[in-house]
Every structure is written in structure tokens, then in C-alpha cells.
């Protein structure tokens, strides 16, 4: 009997936590933030696209140790990124245009300790240079700070979220440039 009650209470607690997680994923601060970084790469656009154009493979981004997902590059495709430190990021593809070499995805679940953001969405676009020999890769993000309520602590402020995403994009773009230009 006691065991049953204990289990029932545990069940309620799990539901309560699930409910909190759900609302936390939706609640957000008042000001959406923007980050836009781009990198010129000395390789044809098609070659850059060949590396980043598969939603199921984000191995080009340094902290990503593993990409697992479903539905390839279809709209609504999902992927789970496991980072080298053990962090997990769940993402969903919502736009994909191979001809225009661009796609957009959003984070469906991430701990703010991994990336201090809420309601994050992002777009990658490859643009060929005028002579066709090079390309520019642009990475644009839109997101709210990690703290969903008023008066955020410094580590979950608007500024902290911008700094983290900007750092991530710069690291990713530099690594990608190196990877492609070195031919690896």
C-alpha cells in the first residue's frame, strides 16, 4: 500500500516536472535577440553545401560528437546532437531549399546550462561569390535569453545569450573554413 502511494506521488512529481519543462520551453523574455555571422570560404558554393547541407550530420561543428535523427532533410526532420561535454540539443528542421542552399531549424529542447537560450531558431545559407570560385556561409540566429522571467541573473541575460551564440557561430564557421580549405 505504502509502495503504491509512493509510486503515485512519484508519478505526480514526474508530471509536475514535465509540466514545468513544457512551460519553460514556451515562456521567454521580452526581447528577441539576433546574431548574424558570416565567413568567406575559398571553395565553390556546392562544395560548402555538400558539407553542411545534410541536416543529419553536424559533425562540422566542433562540440558536436554525435548526430542522430529521423526523416533526413524533410520538413519536420529531427536530430539530436550529443556534445563532447555530454550536453544534448534536440532540433527540428522547418525550412529546406537545396536549390537556394539554405535551411532553417529550431531547438526543441536544450538545457540553458548547455546553451543559455529559449525559443532558438537558426538559418544557414551558402552564397556563391561573383566569380563562382568562392562562397560565403552565413549563419543567422533568433532567440530569447535563457531566463524566461523578469530581472535575469547575469549568466542568463540577453547579453549572455548573444555572447554564447556568437561564440558558437564564430567557432563553427572558422572550423568549417579550415575543414573545407584544407580539403579534409
Amino acid at each position: 500500500m505504502r509502495k503504491t502511494i509512493g509510486r503515485a506521488i512519484a508519478g505526480v512529481a514526474v508530471l509536475a516536472v514535465a509540466g514545468m519543462a513544457l512551460s519553460a520551453a514556451w515562456a521567454h523574455g521580452p526581447t528577441r535577440q539576433k546574431v548574424r555571422e558570416s565567413m568567406e570560404i575559398n571553395a565553390p558554393a556546392a562544395k560548402v553545401w555538400a558539407v553542411i547541407g545534410n541536416f543529419q550530420d553536424m559533425s562540422w561543428l566542433p562540440p558536436v560528437a554525435k548526430t542522430e535523427g529521423e526523416k533526413g532533410n524533410e520538413i519536420g526532420a529531427t536530430r539530436r546532437l550529443t556534445l563532447t561535454g555530454g550536453g544534448i540539443v534536440d532540433e527540428e528542421l522547418y525550412k529546406f531549399d537545396a536549390a537556394a542552399m539554405t535551411y532553417s531549424y529550431r531547438i526543441t529542447a536544450v538545457d540553458v546550462k548547455v546553451l543559455p537560450v529559449n525559443n532558438y531558431s537558426s538559418t544557414l545559407t551558402v552564397t556563391p561569390s561573383a566569380d563562382g570560385k568562392g562562397a560565403t556561409l552565413e549563419w543567422a540566429g533568433a532567440f530569447y535569453r535563457g531566463f524566461p522571467n523578469n530581472d535575469p541573473p547575469p549568466e542568463l541575460s540577453d547579453e549572455a545569450s548573444v555572447k554564447a551564440v556568437k561564440g558558437l557561430y564564430q567557432t563553427g564557421l572558422e572550423a568549417l573554413k579550415k575543414k573545407i580549405e584544407s580539403g579534409s
Binding site: P30, T31, Q33, K34, A140, N149, N150
Partner: protein, 316 residues
Amino acid sequence: MRVLALVLILAALAARIASASAEEAFVTNQLSDDLMVVDLATARSVATIPIGGKPAGVAVTADGRFAYVTSPDAKAVTVVDAATRQVAGRIEVGGGPLGIAVAPDGKTVYVADWYAAAVRVIDTASRSVTASIAVGASPSGLAVTGDGKLLLSADRDDDSVSVVDTATRERKAVIKVGTRPFGVTIDAEGKRAYTANVGSNDVSVIDIATGAEIARVPVGMRPYAVALTQGRGFVTDQYGGTVSVFDVATLKPVKRINVGDYPEGINATADGKRVIVACWESNTLDIIDATELKVIGEVKTGDGPRAFGAFLRRTE
């Protein structure tokens, strides 16, 4: 003589067309912390007014005298003299002011507190908060009926709309809608209201008198707000980068118009001919021809335009 008469008639006609479209947009540029004024006839920016506190919501009075702007980070509402483009006052409201609406007579301003289940009531004569109305969780968009008798609040985290009697300042009904309603718009007759449901990617159609949701119209991804004109609803789809158009009689989708990235605040002009859209990501104010259903103009804005609320002002 005849030629001169014709010229005069043409001139008068041209003046009438110009005055019919003499309207300005008051756009909150949240990331550049200001309010910009765009003359819609010439599609040019005519003023930029520093606001601070990350301005988001805006409500222009029906007589065009004032624009009230919410600054969630400053926990304040700024009063802007619309004609002189000067800040005329600042009202401390506390909490997280976001959505805002002004009564048709201009005497009362309603401000939604995003972090509390409350709408603050501002008396515009004394420029102070005089009352608070209990609504649902995370009130977002606000709208007042044309007769001033009802205030509607889109309570985002309760998936519902509160209907408030403005005389008693009490909630008289709660209407369940789609998931995470954000913007709410009432039609000119005060019969129906429309909410943009961010979570369920649709628009709820509400019959105000019966207090019931009567239909859902599917739109693009992450809808933000709704504008009404020429028998159609125009909905900004933030993630879609489109404006979804639907027929308000049949409630069927008509078209999706490509606009700038992350379209947010949307209003129809007083003459009903244009729909004006603030595109947050691309930093543009897009002008849509409401008949042709296409973008016919674009104005550069500051950074992160939101224009959440009734942001158009008639100058004639």
C-alpha cells in the same frame, strides 16, 4: 479655360488621394531602442525618437495625438506626442509591460504585464496607473471594442482570451482558443475577434457576444498577429517569413505572401488599401497591396522592428 478647369479637377483629385492615404506608422525598433515614424504616402522615415528599455508594444490614439509605447526592460510606458515627435511623459508601471491598447476616447490605456496575470489600467489625464485587472497567465495582445465597452486580452500561457467589462474592470468571460495566443484583433463591428496562436500555427475566430471560439484557420509557422481589411484576415507568420491571407466569410486560406524575415506587427491602413508589416529580422517595414495581395514597397527600419499593437496614425 477648359484645360485649366481640368487641371484644377485633377489637382483636387490628387490631393484627395494623397489625404486619403495620409497615414504614418509608429514602429518600435526593439534592438535599437527607439520609435521611428514612417510616412506611408512617401514610404520614408520622417523621425526617430529615442525610447530605451527595449520598446515593443505601441498604441496610437484614435485622434492621432499620442503614441503609447511599452518598454519591458524599463518597466515603463512612454507617452509620445505624435505630431511633434517628442516624448511627453513616462509612466512607471512595473512588471513586464508588453501588449498595449488605448480606449477609443483616449482616456484610458491598458497595459498587459507579461510576467503577471494582470492588465494595468492607466488614466491618461493623470498619466498614472489607477487600477489592475486580473486576467490569465502571460497576457500578450490587447484590443478594445470600437464602443470601448470590452477589453480582450490574449492570455498566452492559458491558451485563452479574457473578456473584460471596461466599466467594472472585471473579467466576465474566458474563451478557450488555440495554443499560445499572442496578438488579438477585433473587427470594426465589434462582433468577432481573431487570435494568432503561436503554438498551434492557426488563428482562432471568436464570436464575442456568445464568448465562444467558432473556428480555427490554419496559417504559417509561429503566427504573431492579425490585421483585417477588405473581408480578409492578414496574419504574420514569424518562422514562415510570410503573411497568410484568409477570407473572413468562408474562413478559408486564400494565399501566402512572401515578406521579410520574422514578420511581426501588422496593421491595415484606415482606407483599407494597404497592409503594413514590421519584419523583425530583415529590419524592414513591408507595404502590401490588400487587393493585389503582393508587397509593393519596403522601408528600411532600425534594428528589430516589432510594432506590436495599433501602430498606424491618421494625419488627416
